[in-house]
């Protein structure tokens, strides 16, 4: 067992089975990347995660992590779970109730020399802000604290792959945003592939780089979150979220005098109210479709900062019969605008029409706690 989270080419998973539930999928996860396994309950997300950990044996499959082969059914290779360098956070955390917080973390350090363990365990508890609770037992902790113990225990195993099974499901909404922030800083410090099982689209939007969409055990589609979630033909996200587009952007510069921050993304430049974050930081932003208006000619002397030239790519009906969703291509990025049916006919909008997109607000989903513009 090696402690090299950074070494190798990440995680490669192929699974196929008929029983106990059908499963047919393949995906990769690079070091430092967050892949979300997304889908309704019963779609095979957790089974997939358990197979990676070695807790479920599929009928056919191959799982490689870095240079180590963990499973190859055809070759008869199956590494037992305790010999796989995984860190796993269970849905209800599965802490050891008879051990202290520190004991829980130490319990996952059997691979380290004895004298190193306690210092490393205390470091990890500091990382998840639980140093002062080291001597307590899980029974006396809040949901959020338990979750952080589970994360520290998973990291204590020096995982070559970090597996998170609905890690926020047992935490109330108000606490989640803070925990998202912690996971975010975590993924910068841990250079391991991270597989996140979730059925909450908000978590995908905030946390994931790539999405693997599952339905009844079958892979529907996979790809970058910003690309897949902006596709109109996939109805899987529609019900959970009001329409909009996810984009990856980078802070280019701050203009302190104008109190603005300049962001660049595949579609050009966006201005946001001054963000308290360093330049070059990568952000996940979201532009809601109802925050985008359309104009045939470039507007002059308007209060909005963000006007992008774009081309219409798709026109689809919205949930409300009076409204339509207009897909726009701007540079390498896709935007969605929600306008009235009447506006579409007045402006004679059709696929291919050149337009200007007027963006009223940009929401920053990552990092931190969603600062809105």
């Amino acid at each position: 067992m090696t402690a090299s989270g950074s070494g190798g080419e990440g995680l490669a998973v192929t699974l196929r089975q008929q029983r106990p539930m059908p499963l047919d999928l393949a995906f990769d996860c690079a070091p430092g990347e967050v892949v979300a396994l997304f889908g309704p309950s019963g779609s095979g997300k957790t089974t997939t995660l358990r197979a990676i950990a070695g807790l479920h044996r599929p009928e056919h499959g191959r799982i490689r992590c870095g240079s180590e082969l963990w499973l190859d059914v055809e070759q008869g290779v199956e590494v037992p779970p305790h010999r796989r360098a995984v860190g796993m956070v269970f849905q209800d955390y599965a802490l050891f109730p008879h051990m202290t917080v520190l004991g829980n973390v130490l319990a996952a350090m059997g691979h380290r020399p004895r004298r190193e363990r306690e210092m490393r365990a205390r470091e990890l508890l500091a990382l998840v802000h639980l140093e002062e609770h080291a001597g307590r037992r899980p029974g006396g902790l809040s949901g959020g604290q338990r979750q952080r113990v589970a994360v520290a225990r998973a990291l204590a195993h020096d995982p070559a792959a970090l597996l998170l099974d609905e890690p926020f499901a047992a935490v109330d909404r108000a606490m989640r945003v803070g925990l998202y922030g912690e996971l975010e800083s975590l993924r910068r410090s841990v250079r391991a592939p991270i597989v996140l099982v979730t059925h909450d689209f908000d978590e995908v939007a905030r946390l994931a780089d790539r999405i693997v969409l599952l339905e009844r055990g079958r892979l529907v589609v996979q790809g970058p979150v910003t690309e897949i979630t902006n596709r109109m033909d996939l109805t899987h996200f529609g019900m959970q979220y009001d329409p909009g587009s996810l984009l990856d952007a980078r802070i280019e510069a701050h203009d302190v005098e104008r109190q603005l921050t300049r962001l660049v993304f595949d579609g050009g430049v966006l201005w946001a109210p001054l963000l308290d974050a360093p330049a070059d930081l990568r952000l996940r932003i979201r532009i809601a479709a109802r925050e985008v208006s359309l104009a045939r000619r470039a507007p002059e002397e308007i209060s909005l900062h963000n006007v992008l030239s774009a081309t219409v790519s798709t026109i689809t009906p919205a949930a409300d019969p009076a409204l339509v969703l207009v897909g726009l291509q701007t540079g390498g990025a896709r935007l969605l605008a929600q306008v009235t049916r009447d506006a579409v006919s007045r402006l004679a909008i059709a696929p291919g029409t050149p337009l200007f997109a007027l963006i009223k607000s940009v929401a920053v989903l990552r990092p931190g706690s969603g600062l809105h513009t």
Partner: protein
Amino acid sequence: MDWTAFRLSIELGVVTLLGLVPPAIVAGRALAYGRFRGKGFVEALVALPLLLPPTVVGFYLLVLFGRHGPLGQAFEAISGQGLAFSFEGLVLACIVVNIPFAVQPVQRAFESIPREVREAAAVSGMSPLRAFMAVELPLAWPGIVSALVLTFAHTLGEFGVVLMVGGSIPGETRTIAIAIYDRVQAFDDRSAGLMAATLLVLSVAALGATNTLATRIGRRHDG
């Protein structure tokens, strides 16, 4: 007060515990986690001594232990003496009657450990043996303690099977429960009463100790 009988009962209880509890932990765990054919049948077999009248159990054991029984012959070939009406035969009989008292609490205790907690031990890098020692055994401990107490108390009090298999040989097979019966038969109510009271106090103390221990462990888990 028949001190010989008292000592014999304690010895019988301790030896029965030593002989029964370790395999009961293995069997209880296997029944809790194992998925095998005939599991229901095995569980019924484990519970059987609870339902059968002690004289029936005693009778079949006597047949097995006797000069012509397979166990009796095997034992005689090894040790040169008979199994029926001996201390060794009594131990074996007590182990058999106490199987449900030892296995069932242990099985329930292992069943009560959430599957995810055991899986967490594995994905934390613990070998099956280490997970057993560091996670399963401490969590199943209340069940194991109650198996110990139940078995011990039940061995002290067992009457029917002991009488059938052991008779009432002083210093060899006359336990305190048998001695009480003997004293009552001899109209020695004072001795019988003294010994009965001793058994009563021991049983109450054992139950009290288990309860205290169980709540203390429970409180410890709640942090």
